[in-house]
């Protein structure tokens, strides 16, 4: 009885092993219906994700083209970056649609993220480069006001107290505008030098640039207050 049971179990094990081998061979030769469905889903995901990023890049391109304070060099660099990423993602989507296996498809779909980092790198790159150039433009505008304001304070009919307050505000204005100018210098270039290969370290750099730009923005806001103080004393309003 025991001998018969052992034989039966062995036969069952052989049958199971044979079935498994047959199944594996079938999966290699012709995808099962489940694998085919998974491959189709994978390709659909790849197309959706690539298309979503290409659309985002087009939105960024429009923003770059309309940003009037961007320098020509920075605008050109951003448009090149956006154009390369957009064409690269389109080509990657075509590759994914031709992938023969689920494994290959999954690997290629991951490249949509790792090769481009559109949302966590390109989007901040564009916005911070624009912000840096905008603040640089404001700083230049304020720097041009220093001489005219100084001349007007010198020639205006003011009391000693008024003149002293105006001169103090102008001294603060001058130093703050100089500080803001130092802060914004080179920030756009720093941002534009970042690449997806540097992620996640790129995020640290982006946060540092943003913090410096916020500092420059705060300085320029104070400079604006100084200007208002001087304008009030001189009666410019």
């Amino acid at each position: 009885m025991n001998a018969i049971r052992r034989i039966s179990l062995s036969l069952a094990a052989i049958a199971t092993a044979a079935g498994t081998t047959a199944t594996a061979q079938a999966a290699t030769a012709t995808p099962r219906p489940l694998a085919q469905a998974t491959l189709a889903t994978c390709k659909q995901v790849g197309n959706t994700e690539a298309t979503r990023r290409v659309a985002m890049l087009d939105t960024l391109r429009q923003r770059v083209e309309s940003a009037k304070d961007l320098t020509g060099q920075h605008r050109s660099a951003l448009l090149t970056l956006i154009g390369n990423d957009s064409s690269g993602l389109t080509a990657l989507d075509q590759t994914i649609q031709a992938d023969p296996t689920v494994t290959q498809c999954r690997s290629d779909v991951q490249l949509i993220v790792t090769r481009y980092r559109v949302y966590v790198l390109v989007v901040p790159q564009v916005h911070l480069a624009i912000a840096a150039d905008v603040l640089a433009s404001v700083d230049t505008t304020f720097a041009r006001l220093e001489t005219p304001l100084s001349q007007r304070i010198a020639h205006a009919k003011l009391s000693d107290d008024q003149r002293a307050r105006a001169q103090a505000a102008l001294a603060d204005f001058d130093s703050i505008v100089a500080a803001a100018g130092t802060e914004v210098t080179g920030q756009a270039d720093t941002v534009l030098a970042l690449t997806p290969a540097g992620y996640p370290g790129t995020t640290t750099t982006l946060k540092s640039v943003r913090a410096t730009l916020k500092q420059a923005r705060a300085h320029l806001g104070t400079a604006r207050s100084d200007f208002d103080t001087i304008a009030d004393i001189l009666g410019l309003h």
Binding site: D69, C105, V134, V138, F227
Partner: protein, 94 residues
């Protein structure tokens, strides 16, 4: 005689027209001061300075107003950058 009268008429007509044109350009103060005495010349110079200063003020104020709008634009750009930086980029597992 007729020719002389025509010149006088033209001069008579041109004077107020020139004054009106100057007034329209903000130069009325200078046009109403006959430059015949040193005092009058000083008044003319003062009026010219006032006109020049007014123009400078207008430029200053408009550029500062533009700068304020630019700073708000920079705020918006930095906010969008921050939002993107704080996100996590993934794709759904197929």
């Amino acid at each position: 005689m007729h020719h002389t009268t025509g010149q006088s008429l033209r001069a008579w007509a041109a004077a107020p027209i020139a004054a009106l044109l100057l007034a329209g350009c903000g130069g009325a103060a200078t046009s109403t001061q006959p430059p015949t005495t040193p005092g009058a010349q000083q008044s003319q110079a003062a009026a010219a300075t006032t006109t020049s200063d007014t123009a400078t003020d207008t430029i200053d104020r408009s550029s500062v107003s533009s700068a304020a709008a630019q700073m708000q634009s920079a705020d918006s750009e930095m906010s969008q950058a921050e939002s993107a930086m704080s996100s996590t980029e993934t794709v759904p597992a197929p």
